[in-house]
Symmetry: C3
Subunit: 186 residues, 3 copies
């Protein structure tokens, strides 16, 4: 899908979309949420370099996430398994592989989506970093996945730029960074 | 207490209310917050099958929570011990027995209550799941307990339905669920 | 700096400000965010009894936090290292020494600051308690540090009073506390 808006929020950003669903991975249901999230990313200019499906098994989810992070992908979206169902374990699997959590992005997803539906607060999604990869949990329904992603889409380019080691991590990056970076510490 | 409104938000939902307070359990103060929370649940149609009192001791709180979850109660509310006092350890005791956290419900409680008082942000409450039981921490004052519970009361029936293994965990449940559920995975 | 407003939000409250920055601690950049946070505290009547600088090293940050808490300081602000940069580890170092988390204050900082800039949600700040000390992570830019602190400044006096063992931890403290406190439990 091309970029209908002509803007490119994510220059050269690589992304993967991992759908987590017993039924979709068994072929008894069709995944529409994963493709919807991938389409949103492509519209923003990101390169979706991988998509895949796994069942709601914590060990399988974690292994796949570790592999994707090892490949150096900038952004991995998981789709599904964030609710209260007995098999919903995506947040636990994700937290197990995260090195640094980013709770503000999870808060922003729920808060933003709650404008559409109060049930947004039932998402147990977590967001965080492993290596140089940002991992974001999205809910498993197409509408909720789309709304949650849209709620933070504008913030992802800066997060990814910081992950790549952009000169500073200040929140108000419009201010000029101090000179003198690049020092070595023993 | 009957259901004054004639609506039943929680059909057949069982609930317990565990008040956590040194003074109330020692009999030197009267617990009004626990009964207020129980009354709100009954008004919504839930069956409050157990209420009790424990002191602010993490091990005692945790043991009681484990027992209540083992009994298969749908919803356990704790009341008290969510603040900054030296003996306020309910969130720590709760987190220790949770298998899956639900941070969005804790966020929704604080956000909703903050409309009444900014001090709502001082609640350290956690929410989450152990087994098939949803555990929710409420603050220990009657007013705050009521406001925090009211802030998420509408969301609890769907959370409990999902915990029981309702067909799907999608956030926008009005949409028809895909057919073909019930597959077995080896 | 004196108290220009004549009000004293923090009677007798002691505070420390720990700036976390490779560049500032190496002398290749000037710390303006730490002094800005300290100035805000002094304007509110707090006694800033210590300020210091450490590099973005988790072990060094943690050691300094432990020392400050051992000294019985009421409030420790860290400034910097809350973003997504490869060296941003202040939240992880802080969480490692916290005994009790206070997620509501972190949520309130991000929510309050987001009125100025959406990038407030990129702060990975945590807040919590070790011993009788409240530790608050602030972002490393002067503007963001100031906005985040201002977003919770009104809540800190009550949090510190509770930490000191004020009679009760109720969220709506204007209500009279029940009589009969001071009982001993065996």
């Amino acid at each position: 899908m091309g970029n209908a808006h002509g803007d490119n929020l994510f220059p050269l950003m690589s992304a993967a979309v991992l759908t987590v669903s017993d039924r979709c991975s068994a072929g008894t249901a069709v995944d529409t949420a994963g493709p919807a999230a991938a389409a949103l990313l492509r519209q923003s200019g990101a390169q979706v370099v991988w998509t895949g499906l796994v069942p709601d098994e914590a060990a399988v989810i974690a292994e796949r996430l570790v592999d994707l992070c090892r490949d150096g992908i900038d952004l991995v979206l998981t789709v599904g398994g964030t609710g209260f169902g007995p098999r919903d374990v995506t947040p636990e699997a994700t937290r197990g592989v995260l090195e640094r959590e980013a709770p503000g992005l999870a808060e922003a997803m729920r808060l933003g989506s709650s404008a559409s539906t109060r049930r947004a607060f039932l998402s147990r999604a977590v967001v965080g970093v492993r290596g140089c990869t940002l991992i974001v949990n999205l809910p498993g329904s197409e509408g909720a996945a789309r709304e949650n992603l849209q709620a933070i889409l504008d913030l992802l380019p800066h997060a990814v730029a910081m992950l790549r080691g952009a000169a500073h991590s200040h929140l108000d990056s419009p201010r000029p960074a101090p000179t003198g970076s690049g020092e070595q510490r023993g």
